[in-house]
Amino acid sequence: MVDILGLVLSQFSSGSITGVCTQPGTGLCAPESGALVTGDRSFSRPLLLLSALTAASELAVKVLYFTQSQIQSLPISFQGARRAECLKKIRFVYPKTLEELLEDVASLHELVRQSGSLPSLLIVDGLEQYVCGPAAQDRTPQEAQSAAAHVVALLHDTAAFLTQKLGARSQCRVIVSFQPEWEGQGGCPALVSDPILSVLERYLQVRCTTEKVRRGEEPNEWLFCLTGPGLQADGDGKSEERLQWRVVLKSNGTLDFCPISRVKEDTLETLQNPVEVKDD
């Protein structure tokens, strides 16, 4: 997934990405194909949509996008004929319950026997809605943790199978977004150990976080951070990296990513203001 994210960042970046390996066309590489996006959904959803559209347009791969709620708008960066062409490669699936999501993912291997290209990117937008949302109120925290593990393990195994079938043509990547309960409630991520997050990080080796910058130059400014053992930023695979970008929501609705080296921790606060995306 990180290679796709690298494309997103390079396309919408105002600066050059330094300190990362120079894989052609991406600027990022990682040994693991799974990534976990945490943070407010108002920011993570546009990021996932950008990733899906970028993968469809730049890599010409098929994308499966699982979400419980309907997609009402797309990022303004993709408009006109370009968007229409990209959307042909993206299939939006709307399972309503955890069981439906599991059944949909578990059935993906049957695509091998059907004509047509296999998906190279599996996206689950808002996993928290399936494992601990209103439709899962009767589920205990332990059951929610097990359910989360089941979904991501199945995604991991399905992606591995599809990668094997894709052969040298491509690999199947996984992106899952999850908003912990403390997000949007003024909680401090550093002080909270979310049991579901710890499980998700077992299977998704790259974590993408977004945090609001309190005293930034722009009113809508965030710190976007990539961490995790699956991130191989220097290309030698010896060290875990932490890559950061400053993300600014422009007045015209576009997102601009600018790579930075480090940000002082006291300038951060939990993300509270939503990112706006314009309607079609």
């Binding site: 943790q145 593990a149 393990a153």
Partner: protein
């Protein structure tokens, strides 16, 4: 200095011996599951493979081939929640007696306090 190094070496050897002993018990327990034919390789026409393990309670649990996961409650409790089970790579080869089934490689074995054993296969049964 020499005495200090000797003590450190002895302690290290004891740790290695203990670790080996614990893993051996887990390993042979896992082989019992195979001997009892409690492990079933499930494959689909697409080529997808998974493993079903018949637990002591009579329930069937699913293990995936590409990652460490089991659908049994013990995995959720001891691995996911308490994070205390063994998560080590462990490879071995053996051939079952009176059987054509060969277990090519056992990738990871974990065992919780209740003796429930998890087997994660890196290669399929052939």
């Amino acid at each position: 200095m020499a005495l200090c190094l000797t003590a450190v070496a002895e302690q290290l050897l004891k740790d290695v011996q203990r670790a080996y002993s614990e893993k051996s018990q887990t390993f042979y327990g896992a082989l019992d599951l195979v001997d009892q034919r409690s492990v079933t390789r499930v494959s689909s026409p697409s080529g997808r493979v998974a493993f079903q393990v018949l637990g002591g309670s009579g329930c069937l649990y699913t293990c995936y081939t590409s990652c460490h996961y089991c659908s049994c409650p013990a995995f959720s409790f001891s691995v996911l929640r308490r994070n205390e089970s063994l998560v080590v790579s462990f490879s071995s080869s053996f051939r079952q007696e009176n059987s054509t089934v060969q277990l090519a490689e056992i990738r990871m074995i974990s065992k919780n306090d209740h003796g429930h054993i998890h087997i994660f296969f890196n290669k399929s049964l052939t």
